[in-house]
């Protein structure tokens, strides 16, 4: 008999990687009731130890996927270990909550995408983005400047990426102490860069260099 070996948390709950909190919660309840010891279907299929292990797996899946930070780290792990192909397309839609708003968001998304693309045709924006991406270190000011140049409002980024405005502002204003843990921040920067249609890896690397420089400076100051 096959157990959950080799299934990832999404597969255990039978949900796509883009599921919202509510979808995860519903899937968790359904799955749990299926493997519950009162379940007419499975009570005679598993031994108590097998059932305990299965329920533990289901609970781990739920607690990981409903915690934004743990989920981001888990997704990254799936990508890094090659269990899923790439996080980037799924990541953007991942945190949209209901089917209604996700269609809504995707309409906005494609609209915004073509708008930014158009801006990039102008010489000013092109030069600015090249300039910024050539830098070794990249700060929040650079990102903000580019965002203003392509005329994207911070609210629009929030609508699409579901990253809170306060976090986006902290990124742009270099308030590093307010930023989420690295794995999470990495995925935020990736989403941000994708909206501005610039190389996500360069943005991530450049921004993290700025952070580490800031840390070193602070350390020196405290000495």
């Amino acid at each position: 008999m096959k157990k959950f070996d080799g299934l990832n948390y999404y597969e255990i709950l039978k949900i796509p990687m883009t599921s919202s909190y509510f979808e995860i919660k519903r899937a968790y309840k359904d799955t749990l009731s299926l493997y519950n010891e009162d379940s007419i279907v499975t009570y005679s299929l598993f031994s108590n130890e097998e059932r305990d292990k299965i329920i533990e797996d289901i609970q781990n899946a739920f607690s990981t996927l409903t915690d934004d930070q743990k989920r981001a780290a888990y997704d990254q792990m799936l990508v890094d270990s090659g269990q899923v192909e790439t996080s980037i397309p799924s990541r953007e839609k991942q945190y949209t909550s209901t089917p209604l708003s996700s269609t809504h968001a995707s309409v906005n998304e494609s609209h915004l995408y073509s708008r930014v693309k158009e801006k990039f045709l102008t010489e000013d924006v092109k030069t600015l983005s090249d300039e910024i991406l050539l830098k070794e270190r990249l700060s929040g000011d650079d990102l903000k400047k580019l965002r203003k140049a392509v005329d994207v409002k911070i609210q629009e980024i929030q609508n699409i990426t579901k990253i809170r405005t306060s976090v986006l502002k902290a990124i742009e204003e270099n308030r590093f102490e307010e930023l989420p843990p690295d794995t999470y921040l990495r995925s935020f920067l990736r989403s941000y860069a994708k909206i501005l249609q610039i190389n996500p890896q360069k943005v991530i690397d450049g921004y993290f260099k700025t952070i580490s420089l800031d840390k070193k400076t602070n350390d020196l100051d405290s000495k």
Binding site: M1, K2, L34, V41, S47
Partner: protein, 306 residues
């Protein structure tokens, strides 16, 4: 090539014969040539469900060689296109069929010139039932929505697996492996043993081969005597669990609503779908027939396969 559907299920009284007779009748109405074979040896009564007197010829005539082949033991029923091979007049100890006789029957069944062959099996998990069930790569499992019946269904599936593995292992000279496996199985006591895991422990290199072999097998599930107060998604849950935890393909065909008139019909020896053609249960049976014949997978089945 005929489509052979063994109809089984661990528990007695879940309606195997009733469903065999009903499905056979409905398939015959679609213009297909159908034969029902009563393989509930020693307790055969399919003819009664079809409103017939016990036929004089049947499996017995084939086994004692009074006829030249199994086909000539098929007697027509009152329904056009529908035939029956009865085992009613078989000798009293037919339930303990000799192995050679069993092979002879299985071999002959596979050669029968019909469109559909439905095998009405006995309850339990004795070797005859299992081997007849394994005649085809597809089998229908009848279950009622009760814990006891579901429990027996799992045991039935596991035992079918075990039998299948045993056949395969013999064929592939896994004899020594089988001996090791058997002793492990005996040790596992009352719990239905996890055959595959034990076999794999002894022969990890056979894993893919065994899994592939088992995945060739399809179980189709029907819930009979389904009452209103039962969770309507039970069948889908069962299908989903089986697809997830066993190695074969499972497809839930549908529920057949409980109707006390089914018992009345059996008493009056008139086929229920003829006596009460416009009831919910009759509609359920028609829907399941269409599913079996069209071979269109159910929505949830297709979803699971993705």
């Amino acid at each position: 090539m005929a489509e052979i559907y063994p109809i089984g299920g661990g528990k007695g009284g879940v309606g195997k014969s009733f469903i065999t007779a009903s499905l056979g009748t409905l398939i015959a109405k679609w213009g297909k040539k159908v034969v029902l074979i009563d393989l509930d040896l020693g307790a055969s009564n399919l003819h009664t469900l079809l409103g017939m007197k016990s036929p004089k010829i049947g499996l017995n005539s084939f086994l004692n060689k009074t006829v030249k082949n199994l086909e000539s033991t098929a007697v027509p029923t009152m329904i056009p296109n529908l035939f029956l091979i009865s085992s009613f007049h078989c000798y009293m100890e037919i339930a303990n069929l000799f192995y050679a006789q069993k092979l002879k029957i299985i071999d002959a069944i596979k050669k029968l010139p019909f469109d559909y062959i439905l095998l009405d099996l006995g309850p339990g998990t004795n070797f005859n039932t299992l081997d007849f069930f394994l005649t085809s790569k597809e089998g229908i499992l009848i279950c009622t929505p009760e814990p006891t019946s579901i429990e027996n269904s799992f045991r039935f599936i596991k035992t079918v697996y075990f039998r299948k593995l045993k056949q395969m292992m013999k064929k592939n000279t896994f004899d020594s492996l089988f001996k090791n496996t058997s002793s492990d199985l005996k040790r596992s006591g009352n719990n239905p043993p996890d055959i595959i895991e034990i076999v794999l422990k002894h022969a990890p290199e056979k894993e893919e081969f065994l899994r592939n072999k088992l995945s060739e097998f399809k179980f189709k599930l029907i819930f009979n005597q389904f009452r209103n107060n039962i969770d309507a998604t039970l069948g889908d849950q069962f299908e989903s669990i089986c697809n997830r935890h066993f190695y074969s393909i499972f497809q839930f065909l549908g529920n057949i609503s409980y109707d006390s008139r089914i018992h009345d019909a059996i008493f009056s020896k008139i086929l229920y779908i003829h006596k009460y053609p416009h009831t919910q249960s009759a509609a359920d049976l028609k829907k399941i027939t269409a599913q079996i014949m069209s071979k269109i997978p159910s929505a949830s089945f297709a979803k699971d396969m993705l």
